[in-house]
Symmetry: C2
Subunit: 228 residues, 2 copies
């Protein structure tokens, strides 16, 4: 089965990549530059695809940042810090991001006569991200099956999994967690403070899996240790 | 009602613009550059929006042409001439074009807290363009209502109208037909030979409305008449 996977360089889509490969899918990766502040994540996606020896491309739709406004990731709002609250998290929602990325992936999959498009929406996202909910996925499945005479299936391996369960699955598959990127700030190291970093840390703790992430307080500690 | 209309510069979306305005919608236009050969149409859309005194923007997603291949409009295939046959017409289908344009429009509409997105799919397109069929529109309506906490309605005023009926409606509304652009070749004048030009001519004939289009044989006739 030829499957085009939306890869963000994050934990979820990286575990999805190795999960699909383990299931025998012939996977190709697609990254979408939609003008996100943390486009650093796409470099991570490229490295992960190289590690997995899977073809990977990025489509540059960065002009979208002028149209998807009023949020912290493509708009002018600051990235909220601390544990997610409903309000702070809503600030990070890029309007209709998933439909846009899926529509491009589906178009590309039709062009290549692939069988499916996959994306790593997960249960932990349902409360905040409307475009990760099962009912949204169901509508998109219908649309993907109808948009062309060549039918594309939509696969969401983690729709009912928590982030901790995804980390556990990644641990079983021995995935290179250290290559993945979650932080919404997109600086040199994971900030360790934004909502996504807090969630990432928590997922490793709950899964009881060693977290190899270099958070930015690591660099402070390191420079202190070597007296710089 | 604040409505964002996908404007291609063609007949259908132009009549839709004046139809929505007549219905009291507060309309804003959006053009999408998806790498189409006939991007000339977007200049037409801009002129039409100026004529109607409606705000209009173009989002540049022309990088998509590298991903939406195997067709005559964003790929390498030639534009087919003559009356549409099923095969020749399928050659012009840009994979998943409408879902891509709708997803961007919906994201922008959410950003602006608009009520609806409109596009001018019509009954004549159902046979060839899968992403103009009522069942596709239904799936997209669902997806548009679910993709964000701010619900967006999807409006398709001509879903059950023929192109001739659209021309009739345009005539009633006294729309500037001469500003619209249909030709898939995207040269200086309408070629008069490609499938879209043939359909355009036919629609005016069937509607019994004078066709003000300058087809390229016009220029031959003109230069002959003035002895150039």
């Amino acid at each position: 089965m030829k499957t085009l996977l939306l890869m963000s360089g994050g934990l979820d889509s990286t575990v999805a990549l190795f999960d699909l490969l383990a299931d025998g899918h012939d996977v190709r990766g697609l990254g979408v530059h939609y003008g996100q502040r943390h486009s650093r994540e796409l470099e991570a996606a490229k490295e992960i695809a190289e590690f997995a020896e899977v073809p990977f491309e990025i489509t540059d739709l960065s002009n979208l940042k002028y149209f998807l406004t009023g949020n912290s990731q493509t708009g002018d709002l600051p990235v909220p810090e601390g544990h997610y609250t409903e309000d702070s998290m809503k600030q990070t929602v890029v309007p209709n991001r998933n439909m846009i990325m899926l529509s491009v992936a589906i178009g590309y999959a039709v062009s290549m006569k692939f069988n499916a498009v996959a994306y790593a929406a997960h249960a932990g996202d349902h409360v905040i991200y409307p475009d990760c909910r099962p009912e949204f996925v169901e509508a998109m499945k219908q649309a993907a099956a109808l948009c062309d005479w060549h039918k594309i299936d939509l696969i969401t391996p983690f729709l009912n999994s928590s982030k901790a369960e995804i980390v556990k699955r990644g641990d079983q598959l021995k995935i290179p967690f250290e290559l993945t990127w979650s932080c919404y700030k997109g600086e040199d190291f994971h900030c360790g403070k934004c909502g996504t970093c807090v969630e990432r840390k928590e997922a490793f703790q709950l899964a009881n899996v060693k977290d190899p992430t270099l958070y930015s307080n690591f660099s402070e500690k390191f420079f202190k240790a070597v007296n710089l």
